[in-house]
Subunit: 349 residues, 2 copies
Amino acid sequence: MDEKASRHPGEDPPKVALSPVRLQEVAQAAGVSTITVSRCISNPNRVSKKTLEHVLKVAATMGYIPNKLASSLASAKSMVVGIVVPTIANPIHGIIMQGVADLLEPAGYQILLGNSHFSKRNEMELVRTFLGHRVDGILLTGKDHAQECIDMLARSRTPVVEMFDYTPNPIDVSVGSSNFDAGASLAQYMMARGRKRFAFVGHTGLDDSRMMARLEGLRAVCAEAGLAPPLHYEITSDPGTPTGGEVIGAILREAPDIDAVLFAGHLVAVSAIQYAIDLKIDVPGRVAIAGFGDTPMAQWIKPSLTTVRFPNRETGVEAGRMMLERLAGRTPQTRAVRLGFEILSRESA
Amino acid sequence: MDEKASRHPGEDPPKVALSPVRLQEVAQAAGVSTITVSRCISNPNRVSKKTLEHVLKVAATMGYIPNKLASSLASAKSMVVGIVVPTIANPIHGIIMQGVADLLEPAGYQILLGNSHFSKRNEMELVRTFLGHRVDGILLTGKDHAQECIDMLARSRTPVVEMFDYTPNPIDVSVGSSNFDAGASLAQYMMARGRKRFAFVGHTGLDDSRMMARLEGLRAVCAEAGLAPPLHYEITSDPGTPTGGEVIGAILREAPDIDAVLFAGHLVAVSAIQYAIDLKIDVPGRVAIAGFGDTPMAQWIKPSLTTVRFPNRETGVEAGRMMLERLAGRTPQTRAVRLGFEILSRESA
DNA sequence: ACAGGAATGGATAGCGCTGTCCAAGTGAGG
DNA sequence: CCTCACTTGGACAGCGCTATCCATTCCTGT
């Protein structure tokens, strides 16, 4: 009926891949106009029940799958949100993403995923790509971003949720916990139990600013209490192969007055406890050990690990909720949501 | 110059969101045609160096971000691949995905992510959605899928990589390890060390068929060796809160001749060892304990856990490699790649 | 029986880009 | 100086869908 539908069966042999069924073909088969089929798919209540059922049946029979590319282009809504994490291999980000996904997927949004590998530059490139895909929203991990990235985001008017770290000045909206506060609280917890000389073990390099913020929190509390500034031991292990344990012996040898060691990661902290047991170091008698982040193992080990639990899943869920709000065109009254953390007081400190 | 470009500056006030710069506007500003700009973006070597530089500079100045929706629609190539995992919260899938992403991202592909929550029905819906987005390829976790999903995939002619489980009959191509073989190998390892009476602990419910396959492998080896069939203890804990430890006491009480316990998960196995120590059960003297899957903790615990290491990252990398092959239009000679596993012989068995 | 409005379906014109085909410019050889 | 191959840029026609506006139909109240 339309010359545009230049699919002359039999004229030339079908291409290698049989091209997918189009809206127009469904319309033709169902004896209605294209727009009616369109409405059946995306606006069912603008069509009578009878037509709807008929069209849907024809569409199903033909195996019709609407082309989202075309619909997104025409409607300027992609129903896709982009999310940037430093690395998916880290379960923390997996859990946060799961929280996000659990909110967004039921609402009909798809997730475009990108790994920044802790690089602001990569993050910016990912944001550019996402913007190219005309995502309806973008979730970013952390609070520090390239200025160019921030500008690009602002110009695009795309809803942005920054998550994980608490920041009072988000690009758009944000949700997270304060690592400075976590470090400070853990220090206070230790001091309340009589600890006076602190060491901090972690690698503050690549992993954005979180580790550093924890150390800063510890430092601030020590300074305020008139204690000696904490010793800082940098370890540069890949995740999964911590040498954190080895460092505990060295610390006690080099600085025997140390009576509390904070490990930036939970994995290192657990391994340190194991090492301490092997070395017959009394934990927490001789030295208290604590970490950041929780893991099942932390409670099974003897002595069990005192640590800070961050609400990762809650962060993801809240981030998803906020994104949904922004996607609906609303602006939440609190643009920066501060989530707490919990000191799990166990045996090691 | 073109009436179609109906953006009369100043005629009516700009809309709430300043609409993004279009190819045509860049072309106009650079004094070239639209197609030339298009080529500068996606086919730079079809344009003279001089024009290229000029156009790129203009585009950068204007903050031009090409609309991938439009380009994908026009070129029938989206540069997006979809990937379905049961849940991103599980680090195993995170690691596999990281492997996939490490191959695909540098090649310019974006990743559309979906969680099936262990449901074939959800998986099918995700596949349908992905197909709607006209992804260039789809990666699926596991080897069991809804028939309708398989048919849909076949009809679409989209490259498909099934990963994680080994299957000799993939929809398209596949890569993974055999859980049956892993169960069998671990059983043989145990038998070679004199173990005669086996128990298997795990929850074979939700988590697709992997746990079951491991048990089947164990069963087959027991049968072949003329041993009593293994006892099967079902535990139904959520991940992260295993009650695996508690079951070990019960097993030894109910079936005192058991001298080897296989745990379907590594987390449960580690917790079981902790419990065994508490209960003063001699491991591996009284009973050997082993698991599937490795975790840093497995080697730190005393006694350290004998377990099967699956090459998760390698699986992801190989899956990414195969996808890239298929995306390039090539079909690898081996359509089903069988990756091995490694029995990490440690102290607990 | 008939106006008035809701409910329903259709025609038209793009969304922003690229594939295809063609025109113009460029340089080497005769 | 002209022809021929080659390089470079452009015009045109869609990709498959939806927004907008318009034409029906169908029901209600008077």
